[in-house]
């Protein structure tokens, strides 16, 4: 991978960090957390694709990474199945 790509990704990550800080100074109400998570997720994807060389990796590596996130999704979705429904009153 050409060296300039690493520097470009690094610049994007730095910009993302500054953006996170700047957004945190603005009150966006309900959107505060989703926007911060969106920026953080974008940064994580950049790290995985370029710094971890996944973009040029074989298909099996993609399967492993996607499966890992799927499993993380299982943890989140089923945990939130509890947290988001605790106020139900249909006992």
């Amino acid at each position: 991978m050409p060296l300039w790509i690493y520097f470009a990704v690094f610049a994007a990550l730095t910009a993302g960090t500054l953006l996170t800080w700047w957004v945190s100074t603005i009150d966006l109400g309900m959107l505060n957390t989703p926007i911060a998570l969106f920026i953080a997720t974008t940064k994580a994807v950049l790290v995985i694709l370029f710094f971890m060389h996944v973009i040029h990796s074989p298909r099996l590596t993609w399967v492993v990474i996607i499966a890992s996130f799927l499993w993380l999704g299982v943890l989140f979705v089923l945990t939130f199945a509890d947290y988001l429904t605790r106020t139900w009153k249909i006992y």
Binding site: L75, L78, T79, A81, D82, R86, W88
Partner: protein, 551 residues
């Protein structure tokens, strides 16, 4: 490279040739070895020592429970004993037992490889295990820990004044040992299979190890993160689990069980792999429904991740999520039942040889079935509310972990002992031990189902007098069980010097591991084998040997 038939033993060493045991001498040759077989032996010795320690805690607890009064241990000491029993047995014995001992030894042999993919990482995993075990022993000596093996918050973060930090750190480290083993196995199975050894020619033990490794790799990091958060909260009081700081104690339980329920499958999936090998070898038949058994391992590995909150039905989770987890928990029974039915179907009209490994596996199938069916009781929300935190739960998980995983470990140890050591164990004593373990186990744990259903809570050193008769039965069973476990320790050590030489294939079994010498040479095979037969091709082997078979 050359092709060979399933019962060809052409890789057998000439008499007097060096094997992995005699290849090199001295303590350092063992402590710095990168050979998977020697690392397996290091694990075998380590986990046996830890099993005895965990067993010691169990024996003292059972003696305490002989009488309704708490007259041997104080309640605090009893709390520490059941905690240490759980931690030692789960993290330091059951999790590494079959994968780290039998898996390490056999996987490259079954795949026709010279070693695992990452031999140095394999040795590192053993050192991590030992570092964690030494930390654990230090903590036991200096006062122990009393949280239960589950480290539930807020007790572990705010109230317990025992060595919570140290023991969670030890569990954190031993988790990495497990991750490295799983990683090594996955890469080895993908990359180092012998020519011709396609996925559906793999022994089912390899499929089971593959599924186990996936669970180890995907679940254990969550335990590591959870324990780090626990340590952070305990030491620097960040608000993760403490409601006063904005945290939630149930978050700990969610994350802990996201690992610890699949951890049950880290223990039981390898046991199922051993069962498939032994059932095929001692019935002289192909495993009925091979691909179903293989896929069911993967299904168990996947579904095992979707059921964790059935440990939390009374903890305060929402009714909606409890219903979902109850529903999902029933699904795990399907692939588990597929395996049990297929082993049973394999036995049907097989030429069954009731030798020691088979005795253990027949015990395994029965006990695992009881453990599994009582697990369905606990997946039913209404019944679970009645028996949560009673001896019913204790009996249930011991039927899975001891009746299932330990019985299969003993089966595997006996089945492959001739391969590992080159010596036969004494069959009569081994059968006696297998029967004692089966009888002792049932006498220990079956009364606990009744005790739990009648309402005796777990984790107390004293109990109501009406429970004494069943508790005496349970303690008597534990004594038989202890004798049953002590016997193999004695005769297996005895067999190292006095056992009959085994030869390469004492069971007449098929599989690459039986085509090389016993003990195997350092490089496993002199030339890379080419596999041209399906797994468990006993009918072809018998035909080649000119024997008839009742099929």
């Amino acid at each position: 490279m050359s092709s060979l038939t399933s019962n060809d033993a052409r890789f057998v060493e000439p008499e007097g040739a060096r094997n992995y045991i005699t290849h090199d001498y001295g303590a350092l040759s063992w402590l710095l070895t990168k050979d998977h077989k020697r690392i397996a032996i290091l694990y075998l010795i380590s986990i046996t020592a830890l099993f005895m320690l965990g067993g010691f805690f169990a024996v003292v607890m059972r003696i305490e429970l002989l009488t309704p009064e708490g007259d041997l241990l104080t309640s605090d000491t009893y709390n520490k004993f059941f905690t240490l029993h759980g931690i030692v047995m789960i993290f330091f014995f059951l999790i590494p037992s079959i994968p780290a001992v039998l898996g390490n030894f056999l996987l490259p042999l079954m795949l026709g490889a010279k070693d695992l993919a990452f031999p140095k990482i394999n040795l590192l995993s053993w050192y991590l295990y030992i570092i964690a075990a030494v930390m654990g022993l230090y903590i036991i000596i200096t006062g122990g820990v009393d949280t239960g093996w589950t480290f539930y918050t807020p007790f572990s973060t705010q109230y317990s004044n025992t060595h919570v930090f140290g023991v969670t750190f030890a569990a954190f480290i031993v988790g990495f040992s497990s991750i490295l083993t799983g990683l090594n196995f996955l890469v080895t199975i993908h990359r180092m299979r012998a020519p011709g050894l396609t996925w559906f020619r793999l022994p089912l033990f390899v499929w089971a190890m593959y599924a186990t490794s996936i669970v180890q790799l995907l679940a254990t990091p969550v335990l590591a993160i959870t324990l780090v958060m626990l340590m952070f909260e305990r030491v620097v009081h960040v608000g993760i689990f403490d409601p006063a700081l904005g945290g939630d104690p149930l978050l700990f339980q969610h994350m802990f069980w996201f690992y610890s329920h699949p951890a049950v499958y880290i223990m039981i999936l390898p046991a199922m792999g051993v069962a498939s090998e032994v059932v095929a070898a001692f019935t002289r038949k192909k495993i009925f429904g091979y691909s179903f058994v293989a896929y069911s391992s993967l299904a168990i590995a996947f579904l095992g991740f979707l059921v964790w909150a059935h440990h939390m039905f009374v903890a305060g989770i929402s009714v909606y999520s409890a219903m979902i987890f109850s529903f999902l928990s029933y699904f795990v029974a399907v692939p588990s039942a597929i395996k049990v039915f297929n082993w049973t179907a394999t036995l049907y009209r097989g030429s069954v040889a009731l030798l020691t490994p088979m005795l253990y596996i027949l015990g395994f199938i029965g006990l695992f079935t009881i453990g599994g069916v009582t697990g369905l009781f606990l997946a039913a929300i209404g019944l679970d509310v009645h028996v949560t935190d009673t001896y019913f739960v204790v009996a249930h998980f011991h039927y899975i972990m001891v009746g299932g995983a330990v019985m299969a470990y003993m089966a595997g140890l006996h089945y492959w002992w001739p391969k590992i050591t080159g010596r036969m164990y004494p069959e009569w004593w081994a059968r006696l031990a297998a029967l004692l373990i089966f009888a002792g186990f049932n006498l220990t744990f079956f009364p606990q189902f009744i005790l739990g259903y009648l309402g005796m809570p777990r984790r107390y050193h004293a109990y109501a007098p009406e429970f004494q008769v069943l508790n005496v039965m349970s303690t008597a069973g534990a004594s038989v069980l202890a004798v049953g476990y002590a016997l193999p320790l004695c005769y297996l050590i005895w067999s190292l010097w006095y056992g009959r030489p085994a030869g390469p294939n004492p069971w007449g079994a098929v599989g690459l591991e039986w085509t090389t010498s016993s003990p195997p040479p350092m490089e496993n095979f002199h030339e890379t084998p080419v596999v041209t037969w399906d797994a468990y091709d006993y009918p072809a082997m018998l035909k080649a040997m000119g024997e008839t078979q009742n099929v």
